[in-house]
Amino acid sequence: MAQAATEPLLQVNGLRTHFFTDQGVVPAVDGVDLEIFAGKTLGVVGESGCGKSVTGLSVMRLVAPPGRIVEGEILLRGENLLSLSDREMRDRRGGDLGMIFQEPMTSLDPLYPVSDPLIEALQAHSKMTKKDALAEGIRLLGAVGIPEPERRIRSYPHQLSGGMRQRVMIAVALSCKPAVLIADEPTTALDVTVQAQILALLRDLQRDSGTALLLITHNLGLVAENCDTVAVMYAGKVVERAPMRAIFREPRHPYTQGLLRAVPRLDHPPKQPLPTIAGMVPNPLRLPSGCRFRARCPWAIAKCATEEPPLMDIGPGHVSACWVQPDFEAPLPAAKKTGGA
């Protein structure tokens, strides 16, 4: 990667991806800024429906109708992916950009052996012969930790376990040495022990090849173990972004704080109810004015209802979108504990 180390490899500016359903427009991604550097991992965290998966799909330009990217730039090494033709984008996909998905059980075509996607990917992005591609495929399977790869490469997906299938997906995604790998909840559907293995694998591969990793997850624990920077998303927007330590030590957005508080801890006093974030995610068809989190926020003030807070600098590499920016250690205002407007 002939690239200045201080320039982000992938930069997303003001991305908006909206879904035009017959019940209205759903702004799934509504103004998102991200950047990832070579060899580093950016974690995107949030609950279901916050738009993190759609963000990943948008970078790949794989958003299906009725969804459409309506605004923004996605710069890969300075080149705006959104201005490329379909053909040019196809070259990037699988080549410079790789993606692995949440459901390894259904991400492989059941009618073809595992060699097929590997050969497909390699032949789509290089001039390899089938024989060479097959050999490379075997090597890749070995690299992702599949035992007896020369035998396994002829297996069909249904003959492999979930963990193995995900390893195959990783091999396929990394086959053409992408600059950026997007991992959308790669371990959510897997057993806990397998989760750890997969992530360790991703970390090792990343170290060896300098690939930038965009890790999309709802699991804060995974984020803590694997990410260099973290972006927290809520209702289609990034509400806080910071280096990993800063997020966990000094979160400044009430949502992030709520998430962290909700992590069950071994030293939690017994017989006390576990803390939660009251309320529910707003209906995307009827988003509230001002800050989207205010209905559930214990710190909301009058300004939160009228003006939407922008992302504000609060430290080195740390931004947060909140008018109050409460201290994590401060006690919660009692009257607002159960949420409310």
């Binding site: 609950e47 806990v192 709802h218 909700a262 009251a278 309320g279 529910m280 209906n283």
Partner: protein, 374 residues
């Protein structure tokens, strides 16, 4: 290690005002169905057709068995002048006579008579109960008005078409109700009990389903004695149709019942000592119900086509009772087919009816499919 902060309680005044949460599944389905214009059109057409069937006697100007010597008369002309040739806003019709040399019917000029509305004619019973003798329209002055001409015995085709709709439209519905009931019951029992009961029932289904359907229909219908009371024939045709049709439905219901049986709430009910029949009725059948409803709506056209096919071949409803199928039998004659087009009207009616059912059934299936919601 669950780390997500899942919100646990909805605060009383939060911003979630999603109305769709308060709709029953039926309301949701109806709303989805309404959006499908073809399905709505189909439904409207069916309402018109069934109203027509109920009012058949009222709409028919002539009794269906009344013969005349106007054999194969083409549709009567509608003219807008009276017998003196003066223009009239009111529709008139003219007498037709057969030119024995050309074997063609011609309108006799100077014979125009006005059409009459709401005339008293042959008495009938509306819905089999209410005695009436009012008919919507007719000719006058002894000049018959045959909108769709006459058939081989001089009978008014339009009247027979109207009355025939009663047969053709009800057979399908009645037969499907029987099939529906038997299929649900048999399938539910077979799937729920499993074991030898299941085996026997499924073997029976396979036997029935292994015979090409129409072969079986021909055999069953063809063996009815031709001299049987027509009403009995009508009932037996329904029975035959149901007999041929229930096996397929039962098979699928059985599959659904099998998978439902293993669900936990069914096991819980059993553990509570709820009787088997109640479990079948309240837990197993409702999940099969949706499939069965769609299946039924889509099967009605099949039954209508089957009945008309059988009647067409002379095996179903027998003349003189009119059914759209047997009214088309005459069209097998090449001469009739090529020159007497009005005899094809029943075919068009069958087409329209079946099309409407298909639109409606298809729309219903889409509306009930959870993947297509919103």
């Amino acid at each position: 290690m669950i780390v997500t902060a899942m919100p646990s309680n909805a605060a009383p005044n939060d911003t979630l005002e999603d109305d769709s949460l308060s709709e029953t599944p039926w309301q949701l389905t109806w709303r989805q169905l309404r959006k499908n214009r073809f399905a709505m059109a189909g439904g409207a057409v069916l309402i018109v057709l069934y109203t027509m069937a109920i009012l058949a006697n009222f709409l028919s100007p002539y009794p269906i068995t009344e013969r005349s010597d106007h054999v194969y008369q083409p549709p009567s002309a509608v003219v807008f002048h009276d017998d003196n040739g003066r223009f009239s806003m009111w529709p008139h019709t003219e007498r037709m006579a057969l030119n024995t040399q050309t074997q063609q019917y011609n309108s006799l000029s100077g014979s125009a008579v006005p059409l009459r509305l709401f005339v008293r004619g042959e008495p009938y019973r509306l819905l089999g109960l209410l005695p009436l003798n009012m008919h919507l329209f007719s000719g006058s002055g002894g000049v018959p008005f045959h909108i769709l001409g006459t058939d081989s015995d001089g009978r008014d085709v339009f009247s027979r078409l109207m009355v025939g709709s009663q047969i053709s439209l009800t057979i399908g519905i009645v037969a499907i109700s029987i099939t529906f009931t038997i299929g649900l019951l048999m399938g539910g029992i077979a799937g729920y009990y499993g074991g030898p009961v299941d085996n026997i029932l499924m073997r029976i289904c396979e036997v029935i389903m292994s015979i090409p359907q129409f072969y079986l229909l021909i055999a069953l219908a063809g063996l009815l004695p031709p001299t049987l009371d027509p009403r009995l024939t009508f009932l037996l045709i329904i029975v035959i149709l149901s007999f041929v049709g229930w096996a397929g439905l039962a098979r699928v219901i059985r599959g659904i019942a099998l998978s439902t049986r293993e669900l936990e709430y069914v096991q819980a009910a059993r553990a509570l000592g709820v009787s088997d029949l109640t479990i079948i009725r309240r837990h197993v059948l409702p999940s099969a119900f949706t499939y069965a409803t769609v299946s039924a709506t889509l099967a009605i056209p099949g039954y209508i086509l089957a009945e008309s096919g059988l009647s067409f071949l002379g095996l179903g409803i027998k003349i003189p009772i009119p059914s759209w199928g047997n009214m088309l039998t005459a069209a097998q004659n090449l001469e009739v087919l090529t020159s007497k087009f009005w005899m094809l009207a029943p075919g068009v009616m069958i087409f329209v009816t079946v099309l409407a059912f298909n639109f409606l059934g298809d729309g219903l299936r889409d509306a009930l499919d959870p993947k297509l919601r919103r």
